[in-house]
Amino acid sequence: MSTKNRELWEKRYEGSGLRDADFTSLSGRPLQPLYAPEDLGEFDPDARLGYPGDYPFTRGVHPSMYRGKMWTMRQFAGMGTPDQTNARYRFLLDKGQTGLSVAFDNPTLYGRDSDHALAAGEVGKTGVAVDTLADMERLFTGIPLDRVSTSMTINAPAAWIFAMFLANAEKRGIGFGALRGTLQNDILKEYIAQKEWIFPPEPHLRLITDLMAFCAAEVPQWNTISISGYHIREAGSTAAQELAFTLADGFCYIEHALAAGLDIEDFAPRLSFFFNAHLDFFEEIAKLRAARRIWARAMRERYGAKNPRSWLCRFHVQTAGCSLTAQQPEINIVRTALEALAGVLGGCQSLHTNSMDEALALPSEKAVEIALRTQQIIAYESGAANVIDPLGGSYYIEKLTNDLEAEAERYFRKIDELGGVVKAIEQGFFQREITRSAYEYQMALSRKKKFHVGVNEFVNPGQALEIPLLEIDEAVERDQIAFLRRTKAERDNGAVRDGLNALKRAAAEGRNLMPPLLDCARRYATLGETSDALTEVFGEYREQPFY
């Protein structure tokens, strides 16, 4: 466009008087007032964008996107006992949800049984407690596992929770080949952000590689890992850090699997991703588009994958829990709608929308129904699903996509200099970067450089909470522990001991751990017994507290 016209506009812009406000993105990125063709420089749409379903997949992983298949509406849910959670799943499926997503409680996430000393007060509080196969049976009673796909947010003990899931399918006569779903199984982001680990990184990485090899042969439709930026963002990272750290974790998994002798085309098509959709609408869309492009290029060029399915960055999106406010909780519905729309315009394969009450408690039935309806409005009323990558070609979106990609590349070089992801974790690199960003954001709120409606501006002082909250009854813990004791009394304890001993031998001898884990699950070995058996061989991990 004409330089002269641009200069004229710039003069008029400078002279028009600007509000005294912060015009950076949510992540603190400086932004121009306007983006124009010249900001894109030598922009080659064939190389940078391609067509949907074509390399480098900037515009989407499928040729038809939501005209072919609507994204999967998958609400993360779990609370109390397996029976209570089962009732919530049936409610959600009845309301039109199209996939399941299991939220486990904290003890389960740490591989501990409900009667462990550290579990006191936490059983069933932030998710469902699963101690043995018997709980897995209760959790999925009456749910057609061969027709509904199931995502499980579990990491450190992912392999033995998955073994229980498989053992349950087996008991119900459902072949492993018919099972569809995703295991989060992303331990690297645990060390970086969510902090739920059992062993040091190397044994955890080996378990992940074992699971990838097992599923390639036995559970071919299962996504073996969901490489997650969500928790990195929730811990306070910027959009660029979320993008870079997540994809760097992905490269680390690829390199471990290759080093273990796996063929890239056997496991890469089953890798999936999980990103956050935060409040900065355009930056989030650009981040998701950049993720696809960076991943495709790395898979094709750096790792030499030949099958286009190995190049795809397919991902789940969840709206940002950390953007929700305890104050005026109803307005969280609006935040979530904007974030969800960003996820959709960014081309997600599945989506979770947070409920308005999640800064206060686990979602009530009413709140989760509104959250699901929000997705249905975007899908079926707004028109957003009619056209593929509708913001593609926007000067602003394309410039942001380029900039985020470049920022991620700078982080990849830095991580390489530190000796790779595991070394960078051990040095506290990611942890410090994230804490710095979280602190800067909190200070920006404190100084009112950034606003959070109802929190540091537009507040309703003294307003009482007007929405009903879900409460987890204290009886849940007692009931769950009683059920666990009963299960242990009724099983064949000799068979459990033999199973755990066989598991320890396989761990020490370097054999694939999925077959012995499956045997332990079939015999009703508990989650904690299995964790303890493996800890004897692998040892425990302790983090040096960085801040």
Binding site: N106, E122, G236, Q442
Partner: protein
């Protein structure tokens, strides 16, 4: 005698990895000139109070987003009394419903903070309410 720096123990009890708030507050307190000992994750109430005794801390801050706040605050408060730290400030933050905040107050826990509370307000509260060494 010169006033000594306020010393704060920050810890995450139980099985809860949500450490964003704990770390941001730790950093803000350091920036405000206080001394912070961040114990990190998976701390038992016993280990927290032991550290407070060893460090002769003025303040203990617990960060709990797991829903296990009642049992953890109660236990830490009891152990503080036993250890002769009854005059020190026990505060904290996390996802803590208003009605539980009232119950915490009754058991001797000071103000607890939640999502959206201003960082500078937290710093000021600790500055004003920390037990000061009388010299």
């Amino acid at each position: 005698m010169a006033e000594r720096r306020i010393k704060v123990i920050i810890a995450k009890p139980g099985l809860d990895g949500h450490d964003r708030g704990a770390k941001v507050v730790a950093r803000a307190l350091v920036e405000a000139g206080m001394e912070v000992v961040y114990l990190g994750l998976q701390q038992t109430p016993e280990a927290i109070v032991r550290a407070a005794v060893e460090e002769d801390a003025d303040v203990i801050g617990l960060s709990i987003l797991s829903g296990a706040h009642m049992s953890n605050f109660r236990r830490v408060r009891e152990l503080m009394e036993t250890a002769g730290l009854g005059d020190r400030l026990l505060t904290g933050g996390g996802i803590i419903p208003t009605k539980d905040q009232e119950r915490l107050k009754e058991m001797g826990v000071a103000k607890v903070f939640g999502p959206g509370d201003d960082l500078m307000e937290i710093v000021e509260y600790i500055r004003l309410n920390a037990r000061r060494a009388s010299g």
